[in-house]
């Protein structure tokens, strides 16, 4: 049974349509990531699920119960805001116990649950402090502990890592995932960072301009993008898209490699005029032109350090893409075309 199901959600802010007929359902214990550029409607969708915003049309079901018109308190959900939204006038203990106190739970039960949640995130020693005396990472843990303390049906997270510095973010990602696996609560996580999405999600929902473009596992989204938006939004550098007659041909930069040593494989060969080589240590990015017009300006190849072919700007080389790595998209609609044929070199 789906823990959260939204059907036909459409939302207008005045004249602006921010969500357009969104349908999705989470699976039990799933970590679902809503990914998209800013302004794509992902946060609005999360707020509609939380009950902070009402959809213009459509329904929200949580745990099989329709909750569309209900206020947040009737939904048994927990949410962590981007700002953590800790109550500044309360201690950490009071913050974490707040959702329990609003339910008039008795004192001993509160003590016990807060101790459990604080222990889970290793913040037992901070219980007497005020939020302003905490570091960014500690604040985030307090926010998570407060969200988890009453065991909600769903856990909603709105870019909870974006206030942390880059170093902390990686460890917070790991922590978040282990914790979610341990607790097993269905989680919906909003982010605009594709690295976070790929790393955390069981499935990713890619959104753009209020519409769901694709729902799939990280690998599906990466290797089988439903359309050109997904193809270019996920991956850094993004998928190469070149015009070839009536279709757009797409391939990942790491699939687009010099022919040397790959002559035996089932590959498509292309002439590639190198214009610039960028050596980043862990990888080499090679920019250049092909005989076809490229959608992203230039075509990029991404070489792992074990590929030692020397490449110079200004020269033309033969590059190859495995036939399986080539995706074809409709030139007008941008949708993925299922058949792969008629590719000429």
């Amino acid at each position: 049974m789906a823990q959260v199901q939204v059907t036909g959600i459409t939302k207008y802010f005045g004249e602006v349509k921010v969500l357009d007929n969104v349908n999705l359902a989470t699976r039990k214990h799933e970590f679902l990531v809503l990914l998209g550029p800013s302004g794509c409607g992902k946060t609005t969708l999360l707020r509609i699920i939380a009950g902070l915003e009402r959809p213009t049309r459509g329904e929200v079901l949580i745990g099989g119960r329709e909750v569309t018109g209900l206020p947040p308190r009737a939904r048994n959900i927990a949410m962590v805001f981007q700002s953590y939204a800790l109550y500044p006038h309360m201690t950490v203990f009071e913050n974490i116990s707040f959702p329990l106190r609003t339910q008039n739970m008795n004192r001993d039960a509160i003590q016990e649950k807060v101790a459990w949640a604080a222990g889970l995130f290793g913040i037992d020693r901070l219980l007497e402090r005020k939020p302003r005396e905490l570091s960014g990472g500690e604040r985030q843990r307090v926010a998570l502990a407060r969200a988890i303390v009453r065991m909600p049906t769903v856990f909603l997270l709105d870019e909870p890592l974006s206030n942390l510095d880059a170093k902390l973010r990686a460890s917070a990602r790991e922590e978040l995932q282990t914790f979610q696996k341990r607790i097993g609560i269905t989680t919906i996580y909003v982010t605009h960072d594709q690295v976070e999405a790929m790393g955390l999600g069981n499935r990713i929902v890619v959104m753009d301009q209020g519409r769901v473009r694709q729902i799939g596992t990280p690998l599906q989204v990466y290797w089988e993008p439903a359309d050109t938006f997904v193809a270019t939004f996920v991956g850094s550098p993004p998928m190469n898209l070149v015009e070839q007659g009536e279709v757009l041909m797409g391939f990942r930069p790491e699939d687009f490699l010099p022919i040397e040593g790959r002559e035996e494989e089932d590959v498509e060969r292309f002439q590639f005029e190198v214009t610039w080589v960028e050596n980043l240590g862990a990888e080499r990015l090679v920019y250049g032109n092909m005989a076809f017009q490229s959608r992203n300006g230039r075509v990029v190849s991404r070489l792992a350090p074990n590929i030692r072919v020397s490449l110079e700007a200004g020269k033309t080389y033969i590059f190859a893409v495995p036939r399986l790595g080539i995706k074809l998209f409709d030139r007008n609609t941008g949708m993925l075309l299922r058949r792969v044929s008629g590719v000429g070199g």
Partner: protein, 280 residues
């Protein structure tokens, strides 16, 4: 060289501070010496007005407490002030909250509109309001003031509080909604505790505004026993063109000291309240 310049700068700052201290303290000094000077000393053009030229006296203070209803005025002032503060809080807090959070883009202009009503001078309003008071048969009663004073404290305090409520992040309130509060619950448990300095500001403000109010009190009340300090003192101690300076100043001093003390105790919060209301 450098030391000299630093010294001069410091000196200038201290000189300026000294000037403002004198400026601020002078009225209190004047009230103090006038309250304890003998009449002969006060009205003698030969004597130095800044000093005691003759021995001091308690005669004026005795007159103030013995022959006027000064204590009664003070009690009345506190009764009216307290009631006005309560009414203002009960109305301005929900008004400001709903204008900032629930009224959408109309809230802002409505707030400004409410503030504008504060600017209509009492010298005009007391005429229609005196009809209202006589219709309600509240003339000569403290209730007339308790009813009328909120007409200027509520608009001002609502506007001031809107600035405070706006400065509280929406996230925190929404978090409270998610954590199981109703709208009103979120307001009481999260928004109000975070606006203590704002609420304190409007308490002090509503109280001092009603304490210093003169026109309505003069228009609605003439029975001695129901007067407040602001009209009791001038009407009872100025008879025709005779000014009883001694008791006048004693009364002014006694009623201004508590206000001055409260202001200086909460000065920081008070200023924070004002700038917050001003910028956003």
């Amino acid at each position: 060289m450098k030391d000299l310049r630093a010294l001069r700068k410091k000196g200038a700052i201290y000189a300026a501070a000294l000037f403002f201290i004198c400026f601020g303290a002078f009225p209190f000094y004047w009230m103090l010496i006038t309250a304890f000077k003998r009449d002969h000393d006060l009205f003698n053009p030969e004597s130095n007005p800044f000093l005691f030229n003759e021995p001091s006296t308690l005669e004026h203070v005795r007159l103030l407490f013995g022959q006027t209803l000064f204590m009664k005025y003070v009690v009345n002032t506190f009764l009216v002030g307290g009631a006005v503060v309560l009414i203002t809080l009960v109305i301005a807090i929900p008004a400001a909250y709903s204008l900032t959070r629930l009224a959408g883009r109309w809230g802002e202009s409505l707030g400004v509109g409410i503030f504008l009503t504060y600017l209509v001078p009492p010298t005009l309003l007391f005429i229609p309001l005196s009809r209202v008071i006589s219709f309600l048969k509240l003339g000569e009663s403290l209730w007339s003031l308790i009813l009328v004073y909120p007409t200027f404290t509520i608009p001002f305090c609502t506007w001031l509080l809107m600035g405070f409520f706006k400065s509280i992040p929406r996230d925190i309130e929404e978090q409270a909604l998610i954590d199981g509060c109703t709208r009103i619950g979120a307001m009481v448990r999260v928004v109000l505790p975070l606006s203590t300095s704002g609420i304190l500001t409007i308490v002090i403000f509503a109280f001092t505004l009603s304490m210093q109010e003169f026109i309505y009190a003069l228009a609605f009340i003439s029975v001695s026993a129901h007067k407040t300090v602001s009209i009791g003192v001038p009407t009872e101690l100025v008879r025709g063109d005779v000014f009883r300076w001694g008791p006048l100043m004693a009364a002014a001093l006694i009623s201004s000291i508590p206000v001055a003390v409260v202001y200086s105790l909460f000065l920081d919060r008070f200023i924070a309240g004002f700038t917050m209301g001003a910028t956003k």
